[in-house]
């Protein structure tokens, strides 16, 4: 399937939108704070809002070209859209909602009904009506409905933001499955680091209507914050072995081998690891007699003072880590760019973010 190419400018209320990026097949996270203009960019791609200038295209198919005067109506763009609020048809059963694109939109694709229902775990809900579904079930139906419209591109506008934490955890595995098997470009809008880290292969960071950075999830989200305000490091790697007796797994990352406590990681799978900056300690030399399982040899690339804390960026192989230590520790250790250090990470502090697509 063709990649989506976006190069547009326009206005959204009181600020300007300037966006240029490519979304390859797979999940691209459109990431930024609430009100940063992510949803407006999505609406421009879908055709609900008209950009002033630029071009939106997928391969040969041009959705919008200001200079050539092309502006396809939304339904001619072959785009599936999952709305924040679901927007299920309340007078139709789950089954009729799911098949709406077939009977009302005359769209059909290779994806079968049964396959999609199984993918989203909706088998027992088909004869129910939207009003009787939980928020999470509703959003699963909305996702299935969009998938069954056989879209060439799938746009998801904060599909989990209206749900509570428990429902979110219930849906994320389904979204992960979709992320791992999709062959079309999926644009996933979210302000939640964790969601984007779990789902996105690449991330487009949006700030005040502008695309600030485009890169791999590890690159972009390494620079973003967790819910407590600390930076988060992401490491992608291959599961090379398990210690079944102690329930730990070994993952070969760009920064070296990392051990984490995990029961259910299959050997040979690719996985994304997530480490909070406050969970990384720094030593000047390798240590013995320590409970900490991971000692990675790094080089300091930068020290940034943030109030009482210092954020220390570390290069380890091709990967990057951010450690958050007190300013006092940073001064006592005399940390500065270029110094070789050891990053200490407890196996229990390494969180498994998601399984990755096998092909990378």
């Amino acid at each position: 399937m063709d990649a989506l190419e976006v190069d547009i400018s326009g206005s959204a209320g009181n600020f300007a939108i300037i966006a240029q990026f490519r979304a390859e097949p797979g999940v691209t996270g459109l990431f930024g704070r609430s009100g940063a203009g992510k949803s407006t960019i999505l609406k421009m791609i879908a055709g609900a809002v008209r950009p002033e200038k630029g071009r939106i295209a997928a391969g040969e198919r041009v959705f919008f070209d200001a200079r050539a005067g092309i502006n396809l109506p939304p339904r001619a763009r072959g785009i599936g859209f999952v709305f924040q609020d679901g927007r299920l048809f309340p007078h139709l059963s789950v089954r009729s909602n799911l098949t709406y694109a077939r009977w009302a939109g005359r769209r059909s694709g290779s994806r079968t009904f049964d396959e999609t229902v199984a993918l989203l775990g909706l088998e027992t809900h088909l004869d129910r009506y939207p009003e009787t579904l939980s928020g999470g079930e509703r959003q699963r139906v909305a996702i299935g409905r969009a998938l069954l419209a056989a879209p060439d591109i799938l746009l998801m506008d904060e599909p989990l933001s209206s749900l509570d934490e428990e429902r979110r955890r219930e849906i994320l595995p389904y979204l992960e499955r979709i992320a791992n098997q999709t062959r079309i470009p999926v644009l996933y809008v979210s302000h939640d680091t964790d969601e984007v880290a779990r789902l996105a292969d690449r991330v487009v960071a949006v700030e005040q209507g502008r695309v600030r950075a485009v890169g791999s999830a590890a690159e972009i989200l390494g620079r973003s914050l967790d819910e407590a305000g600390g930076p988060v490091s992401l490491l992608d790697g291959l599961v090379t072995g398990l210690d079944e007796h102690y329930g730990t797994a070994f993952v070969q990352t760009a920064g070296g081998p990392v051990e984490l406590s995990s029961q259910d990681l299959p050997v040979g799978s690719r996985v994304r690891l997530r480490i909070r900056a406050s969970e990384i300690a720094i030593a000047m030399a390798p240590l013995d007699g320590l409970s900490i399982r991971n000692q990675l040899a790094c080089v300091v690339t930068g020290v940034e003072r943030r109030g009482a804390f210092s954020h220390v960026t570390l290069a380890v192989g091709e990967a990057r880590l951010v450690a958050r230590i007190t300013g006092k520790s940073a001064d006592i250790l005399g940390l500065s760019a270029g110094k070789p250090v050891i990053a200490l990470i407890k196996a229990v502090s390494v969180e498994r973010s998601r399984l990755l697509r096998p092909d990378g």
């Binding site: 927007r87 048809f89 007078h91 009302a104 939109g105 004869d127 969009a146």
Partner: protein, 229 residues
């Protein structure tokens, strides 16, 4: 008894005909008022409400001026379609339809406005054209309002008096509907007994209509609730 039955049948015929020709324009006007912003919207709104607030006799006289045998529209329809309203049951139906018009428009408009516009947008992203989205999403969701409007309008058409008697007079067998017949009987000294029979049947008829509409509304509700709980 058969004279009374004839009156009831005539009233029903007039009311059905009134609904028959006013429903589509009423729906169109309701849609226009619910969905579009245009110059003169307030004026159209006022015009639609007019039959509700004007004395019915004035509306009837207006119809006489416009659709009477000497009226401009009356002559046009006579020449083009051979349709004549003056002193005919069709004129009674026209008067009833015009009087019922505002009662049809309002609930339909409100129910159309209550349908979330985002649902049609969602239907569009699933490949449905605007017409298909309207028919498969908006119309079914607005159906209860549509039914409420028709029931109200039908009841109004069945009992219409002032505009009808002014426009097409009170001709037994042609324009003498239920209200007009009761009125005529009450005018004659020995008509009380016959009037009472008609009054009784009209009360029964009204009761039946209300029960029927309740039943329809409940069935719709149940259909929407099907499979729940």
């Amino acid at each position: 008894m058969s004279a009374e039955l004839d009156i009831l049948l005539l009233s029903a015929k007039v009311a059905f005909a009134a609904m028959g020709f006013s429903l589509v324009p009423a729906f169109a006007v309701a849609l226009l008022l619910a969905r579009k912003d245009f110059r003169g919207k307030a004026l159209l709104q006022a015009l639609v409400t007019l039959p509700l607030v004007l004395p019915p006799v004035v509306t009837g006289y207006g119809l006489l001026l416009l659709f009477g045998s000497q009226g401009p529209l009356g002559r046009l329809l006579e020449n083009l379609l051979g349709l004549s309203f003056a002193f005919r049951w069709s004129g009674a139906a026209l008067a009833a339809g015009v009087m019922a018009f505002p009662l049809l428009v309002r609930p339909i408009r409100l129910s159309l406005e209550a349908v979330d516009h985002g649902l049609e947008e969602a239907a569009g992203t699933l490949g449905a054209s605007r017409l298909v989205a309207f028919v498969t999403v908006t119309l079914p969701l607005a159906l209860p309002g549509l039914i409420a409007g028709v029931v109200l309008g039908f009841a109004k058409a069945l009992g219409e008096f002032g505009a009808t008697i002014t426009f097409v007079s009170n001709i037994p067998g042609e324009t003498q509907t239920l209200s007009l017949a009761i009125y005529a009987l009450l005018q004659s000294p020995e008509g009380d007994a016959a009037a009472l029979k008609l009054i009784t049947s009209s009360v029964l008829l009204a009761l039946a209509a209300v029960l029927l509409s309740e039943w329809v509304a409940r069935r719709l509700q149940r259909k929407e609730n099907h499979g729940r709980a």
